[in-house]
């Protein structure tokens, strides 16, 4: 009896083992056969040139990997004659991706072209792991060289640790201010209010939103404005006092003639006082410092919030979610920056979003030429729409003779690793991208976004700290993580600390490394001014 049982178990194991072996060799299933390819595949390689393949690593939030001879591989090959292969690497907010990259680099198998994260490029340059692009770009990738503004290349030069101004990285660039306060224009219209221009107007608008029931449901459930935990995503309230801030992280700009961290300026003290008063009067969401992304966006999408702060070009996402959730068609409009008395308000503009690509240092001339071909196509504005629309049948579809982008489907779409229209964005490229996702049903919300993004260049101020490398924080991780700032700001806003504690914060910040970091930052700034 017992023998039968054990035999059965062993046989089951053998059965499973053979099935596993068969399963391993089955390979990819229906995924690659679904999409229509762009026609000529083998012919281009028969032209005598052997296609060089480059392994590219990029953020992948769940899409399929790009395999050799798959639809996207062939699509790219037809566009610029180089094969792109991109494995699926777990992103996990960048941490797993970074681990994987480091392991591969340690094993001597770094990918040919990859997106670095968390400042890892600084060490890689020092160790000679990255390709020197300074002479290659103007000669072999002229489109990219011209498209990225010269000021940005100068900042990239300042990242060279040897101080020789060599270029090792390709930046991602925004040619216009990205984020602003977004206000419910339809609420303003309903309450007969005009777009606020002074801080007084602004307070009146907030109070009206709170008390006059603009969402019309008979309940006093409106939240005039708010943000998220760590006092983030309400930058515009700080911006009224001339504070440069990016997604809630204080930035470096010129204050009193010197490059200074905006969190330790007198501007910040007044800003915190203002926000504290808003909090006391109930004009900002009492749960602001507790909201996570889902929580805050849930309130926005429930037709409860009057003003939020986020990307001007993305208002259509919020508008569509709001409509599908509540049936209300909201009108989200950019609110121009307001100046508090005695200050000049603006929306922070940074041209450098981050480092987009670095190339592995190699002597293989074929690979270098192939990479340059890729980068040249990447910088060629005429091709950007094509990059965005991807493979016809997989990422996009013909509708009434026009190629339209399909909604994201992670089951069937390969990761679009080359998206220059988004990485090097201009107002025109973004408008084009928005137009290509517009359908009759979504036209109302997308037109709002187009109008919003086109207003943005008027409201931005390019800050001096644009492109500052994280190496200035070396040795002072706490200053980089702004833990002290978050603690003091939160407690002052809720009223737990009196405003006088702000001076204590500045002292502590300076003593715990702020002074050293400021010195390093000012040295870096000098270099970019040359």
């Amino acid at each position: 009896m017992k023998r039968n049982k054990t035999m059965a178990l062993v046989l089951a194991g053998v059965m499973a083992a053979s099935a596993l072996a068969g399963c391993g060799s089955k390979g990819v299933t229906a995924e690659t056969s679904k999409a229509g390819t762009s026609g000529k595949t083998e012919e281009s390689s028969a032209a005598g040139e052997k296609t060089v393949d480059l392994e590219v690593w990029y953020t992948n939030t769940g899409f399929l990997e790009v395999k050799k001879d798959g639809p996207l591989y062939n699509f790219y090959k037809d566009m610029f004659g180089v094969g792109i292969v991109s494995p699926y690497v777990e992103w996990n907010g960048g941490t797993t991706y970074q681990e994987q990259l480091n392991l591969k680099i340690a094993a001597g198998e770094a990918p040919d072209m990859f997106m670095p994260v968390n400042g890892m490029e600084a060490d890689l340059v020092k160790n000679g792991a990255l390709l020197d692009l300074t002479d290659l770009l103007p000669e072999k990738a002229p489109h990219l060289w011209e498209t990225v503004p010269k000021e940005v290349w100068d900042v990239i030069r300042s990242y060279d640790p040897s101080g020789q101004g060599r270029i090792y990285m390709i930046p991602s660039v925004f040619d216009y201010p990205l984020m602003s306060a977004i206000i419910r224009q339809d609420w303003l219209d309903k309450l007969n209010l005009s777009m606020p221009e002074t801080q007084e107007d602004f307070l009146n608008v907030l109070r009206a939103f709170k008390t006059q029931d603009p969402n019309g449901n008979g309940l006093a459930d409106e939240i005039p404005t708010g943000g998220r935990q760590e006092a983030r995503w309400m930058d515009y309230l700080f911006a009224m006092y001339g504070i440069s801030m990016w997604e809630g992280f204080p930035q470096w700009d010129i204050y009193n003639g010197e490059l200074t961290y905006s969190a330790v300026t007198p501007n910040m003290k007044d800003a915190l006082l203002f926000i504290r008063d808003l909090y006391k009067e109930g004009l900002i969401d009492p749960e602001t410092l507790l909201n996570d992304k889902a929580g805050w966006e849930g309130k926005i999408n429930s037709d409860k919030v009057g003003i939020y702060y986020h990307w001007a070009q993305a208002t259509y996402e919020y508008a569509t979610s709001l409509e599908s959730a509540t049936g209300v068609r909201a009108e989200w409009a950019v609110m121009p920056p307001i100046s508090a008395p005695g200050y000049e308000g603006f929306y922070t503009e940074k041209k450098i979003k981050g480092i987009q690509w670095v190339l592995k240092n190699t002597d293989d001339q074929e690979k270098i030429d192939a990479a340059m071909k890729v980068l040249d196509a990447y910088g060629n504005k005429d091709l950007w729409q094509k990059f965005f629309l991807g493979v016809e049948g997989e990422h996009s579809k013909m509708v009434d003779g026009k190629l339209m982008k399909l909604p994201e489907d992670k089951k069937t779409m390969e990761n679009l690793v080359l998206q220059p229209g988004k990485d090097i964005s201009t107002i025109d490229s973004i408008t084009q991208l928005l137009e290509s996702v517009k359908t009759d049903e979504t036209a109302w919300s997308i037109d709002q976004s187009i109008a919003n993004v086109q207003k943005m260049p008027n409201y931005g101020k390019l800050i001096a700290g644009d492109g500052m490398p994280n190496s200035v924080y070396e040795g002072y991780a706490d200053i980089m993580n702004r833990t002290l700032y978050v603690e003091y700001a939160s407690k002052i806003i809720t009223g737990e600390y009196p405003i006088e504690k702000f001076d204590e914060f500045v002292q502590k910040w300076n003593a715990s490394g702020g002074e050293a970091v400021t010195k390093a930052a000012r040295e870096w700034y000098e270099k970019t001014q040359k």
Partner: protein, 288 residues
């Protein structure tokens, strides 16, 4: 048995506290299950608590129709089953001799085993070693590194040590060798420890994450946990220009559904295996 009021009250209090803890542990699970059955609107408005809002099967339909998910499930299932059987075989083969006090080498070997439990290898050398064994992108990497766990080995060894010597001596007199003893006598009477250790191994292999992340890059070979990771993403703040889809699911409902999908097998198996934790398997085997 008579229990005093004090005992009863004590029992009652303990039961009450454990019930509360159980409910607290259950709440997140209920929220996730509720979210997997909720509509896009409800997820966007963030109003889902313990019960589905806007009940819909859209998220489940989406994930269950993904052939990649089933393949990953099958890979996880088969590697867990094969791995557990292999692990039990290897572990018991090692635990048995180490449990014999007259095996002098056993002391030293046990010391080596405990040392590996205490000192872990750093990531990069480990990666290079395993890769050097040819296990990169190889499904065997889901099995081989786990087939011997020092902790489980210690459990088995202790159990075998407590195996009554009289039974073994009786068998030896009848002409039984060590292998036969292990196979015919010790193992059949060790159901309790085999099930326990087997369960530990099975759960480890089912849930394994570090090894697949480091060593498997072909998406076709992903085990279930990695496949789930592909579908779960916190939603970063890049605003993507993407076409709006007319579907009744969002990232959060899809990830909730996948998480529940991954938990179901374990929850299903556990109660069924409870009955194998038979106490007193040893009683009655020694006659006289």
């Amino acid at each position: 048995m008579t229990e005093s009021i004090k005992d009863k009250a004590f029992q009652g209090a303990i039961t009450f506290i454990l019930c509360i803890l159980g409910i607290i542990a259950l709440i997140p699970l209920l929220t996730v299950i509720a979210r997997s059955f909720s509509s896009k609107a409800a997820a966007d408005m963030n109003i889902i608590n313990l019960w589905p809002v806007g009940f819909t099967l859209a998220s489940w339909k989406y994930i269950l129709s993904d052939p990649g998910l089933w393949k990953a499930f099958f890979i996880s299932l088969s590697t867990t089953i094969i791995g557990t059987v292999l692990a039990l075989a290897v572990t018991s083969l090692m635990a048995y001799p180490l449990s014999k006090s007259n095996f002098k080498l056993g002391q030293i070997l046990m010391l080596y085993v405990i040392m590996t439990m205490i000192f872990k290898a750093p990531v990069v050398p480990y990666f290079l070693t395993v890769k050097g064994m040819g296990l990169f992108n190889n499904p065997l990497v889901l099995i081989l590194p786990h087939i011997l766990s020092a902790y489980n080995l210690a459990i088995m060894r202790t159990f075998f040590k407590q195996f009554p010597a009289e039974v073994e001596e009786a068998a030896m007199i009848d002409g039984c060798g060590y292998f036969q003893m292990l196979y015919k006598i010790v193992i059949p009477s060790s159901k309790a420890v085999l099930t326990t250790v087997g369960l530990f191994y099975a759960v480890t292999m089912w849930n394994q994450f570090q090894h697949p992340i480091m060593f498997i890059q072909k998406t076709g070979l992903f085990p279930l946990q990695l496949k789930i990771r592909q579908l779960i993403n916190g939603g970063s703040d890049f605003a993507n220009i993407a076409a709006v889809a007319n579907v009744n699911y969002t990232e959060s409902t899809l990830s909730a559904a996948t998480v529940v999908f991954a938990i179901i097998p374990i929850i299903a198996i556990y109660p069924w295996l409870q009955k194998y934790f038979a106490k007193g398997a040893m009683l009655g085997s020694v006659k006289g």
